[in-house]
């Protein structure tokens, strides 16, 4: 296992595109959250508006504990960046035909895929660490509601699982399609256009099947935070109640995705 990781590190460490996208990701996560944080402060602390009154009602989404949920939600919008890295890492192997060279040189097909699985795991952990640091940087003790002292650090686990699940999907697309630009386009189209559109339509039709769509299944582990949800407390509570169920669904779904990848890799020509 360590040897697989060391070899993957040799492949990655001198790959400029990897560091560029990682850099962009490292800026995007604090960037989006700080922008939201500033927006919140500007609107709700403006004494000329009804902001302070709303603030009393909805609490501070960046207060300690609530921050794990809020930052997790906004950060989940930007899984796209690490997804680009994951897609590049797998499609590069097909473009350079190094996937077959690795096997020719002595890796088993399973070792090749395990190495990629470890890449996805490590990138997910790195992104979660980034999310964790952003939470620590941005959190505030000001404005927390007395009754909301429940520990929401479990969102760290949800965020890790959500990231891993959606990066696994990115990997799956790259693994199937093999061409980087097609895989990226497909990922974007599925995650940002087709699935949200279908989910929206199905919800309007009162059909619940949308919650089982590949991205939606993990998205629902981190529903829109309280300050959005308060405008419809019932829906918010419903979403919060189903997070654990979706955590189970996500684990099963992600497991199936990897199982399929390993099975296919064992059988198909390289």
């Amino acid at each position: 296992m360590t040897n697989l990781l060391k070899i993957e590190w040799l492949k990655i460490k001198a790959y400029p595109a990897f560091w560029w996208v990682l850099g962009v990701t490292a800026l995007a996560y604090p960037g989006i959250n700080y922008a939201m944080f500033s927006f919140y402060n500007r609107i709700l602390n403006d004494p000329k508006t009804v902001g302070p009154a709303i603030k009393t009602m909805i609490g501070n989404p960046f207060s300690y504990n609530e921050v794990w949920h809020t930052v997790g939600y906004f950060s989940s919008w930007f899984i796209l960046f690490p997804a680009i890295i994951v897609i590049m890492l797998i499609t590069n192997e097909y473009t350079f035909r190094t996937n077959r060279q690795n096997v020719i040189d002595g890796w088993t097909r399973k070792q090749f895929l395990t190495a990629k699985f470890l890449d996805v795991c490590i990138i997910s952990v790195l992104i979660t660490i980034l999310y964790f640091l952003v939470c620590l940087l941005i959190r505030t003790n000001e404005g927390a509601l007395g009754g909301e002292g429940t520990n929401k650090m479990y969102f760290i686990g949800y965020f890790l699982l959500l990231t891993f699940s959606q990066l696994s999907l990115a990997f799956f697309i790259g693994f199937l399609v093999r061409k980087s630009f097609i895989a990226l386009s497909l990922y974007l189209f599925l995650s940002m256009i087709l699935e949200p559109l279908l989910t929206g339509i199905l919800e309007r039709l009162n059909l619940k099947i949308g919650q089982f769509f590949p991205f939606e299944i993990s998205d629902r582990m981190i529903p829109p935070p309280a300050f959005f949800g308060r405008f419809s407390p019932e829906k918010y509570q419903q979403a919060m109640d189903s997070t654990f169920t979706h955590c189970i669904y996500t684990v099963i779904f992600t497991l199936l995705v990897w199982l399929f990848c390993f099975r296919l890799n064992a059988k198909r020509d390289l």
């Binding site: 040897n3 060391k6 070899i7 040799l10 492949k11 001198a14 790959y15 400029p16 590069n92 350079f96 035909r97 190094t98 077959r100 060279q101 690795n102 096997v103 020719i104 040189d105 002595g106 890796w107 088993t108 097909r109 059988k267 198909r268 020509d269 390289l270």
Partner: protein, 297 residues
């Protein structure tokens, strides 16, 4: 002892049969040439024995073992094209090969690069290399750690004449040191110059395999020449054992059963029939001729 045994390998791509029951054995220490025109199934066969492609049917064994996951680590391979990470240098790419295969040390990387004259450019990125340099790097990767068996698919692709001569010399040197080399090529001259054994393929079928001498020695070829070539051509049909004769510019080419070409007997026969020969030569059959004969080209 055989290094590789292949039995009845079949592979199809939809309706196209790429391999049709191919089987042969590669003895230890042989330089084994896999010959065939483009599309004959050479690379498909090599890809199957290296686990890159899955055979539809059939089996193969390396080093006498049927299912070993580690066998590829003992084989230096160049398959089809040089496959390396474009953004990495020659050194970095070979380090990955070394870590995966477990063959050689860091010093061996420099040694392999020197062997293919790439040491001076070892820090250059693969993407900046010419076609010939890429091919040299692939050969260096195959040579890394001095494996006892090498599989080289079209090893002289993209090389200049000097490079081709160097690779030929290298293969002979490897053979002299007891290595087994399996080499696919459609360049007959190349195979004839270095191979001890050969398998000839066409359209996914194995036409013939064995030691080069055996494959080539199906018939004897004798060239004869005389002042009156047309007259000689009429008389020569009475030569006992003659299979056929063909007129080749100012000579006749006689085909006789293997081992029956006694030049003295032919000379006497012609003289007794009134023809004084000005040319009599037992021609060694060239691989090229045999190849065209077998593949009907």
């Amino acid at each position: 002892m055989n290094i590789l045994e292949i039995q009845n390998i079949h592979k199809a791509y939809g309706p196209t049969k790429a391999l049709n029951g191919v089987g042969f054995a590669v003895p230890k220490g042989a330089i084994f040439g896999l010959l065939g025109p483009n599309g004959s199934g050479k690379t498909t066969l090599l890809s199957i024995i290296l686990d890159v492609l899955k055979a539809d049917q059939g089996a193969f064994s390396w080093f006498g073992q049927n299912s070993s996951t580690d066998f590829r680590k003992r084989i230096g391979t160049l398959l089809e094209t040089p496959n390396f990470y474009h953004y990495l240098s020659a050194e970095q790419n070979l380090e990955i090969t070394r870590r995966i295969s477990g063959r050689g040390t860091k010093e061996d990387i420099a040694k392999a690069l020197r062997k293919v004259n790439l040491y001076e450019r070892r820090k250059g990125k693969f993407s900046s290399y010419s076609l010939g340099m890429k091919q040299r790097l692939a050969i260096a990767a195959a040579l890394l750690g001095d494996p006892t068996v090498l599989v080289l698919d079209e090893p002289t692709n993209g090389l200049d004449p000097v490079g081709i001569a160097e690779i030929r010399a290298l293969i002979t040197e490897l053979s002299n040191n007891g290595h087994t080399v399996i080499m696919a090529s459609h360049l007959l001259d190349e195979v004839e110059k270095v191979c001890t054994h050969v398998a000839i393929m066409k359209s996914g079928n194995l036409l013939q395999s064995g030691a080069v001498a055996e494959v080539l020695s199906s018939d004897d070829l004798v060239e004869v020449g005389a002042e009156n070539l047309n007259g000689l051509a009429r008389v020569i049909t009475q030569l006992p054992g003659l299979i056929r004769h063909t007129v080749e510019s100012d000579k006749l080419l006689l085909t006789l059963p293997n081992g029956s070409s006694n030049l003295e007997r032919i000379n006497r026969f012609c003289f007794e029939h009134g023809f004084v020969l000005n040319h009599l030569y037992l021609k060694k059959q060239r691989l090229e001729a045999r190849f065209f004969e077998l593949t009907n080209n």
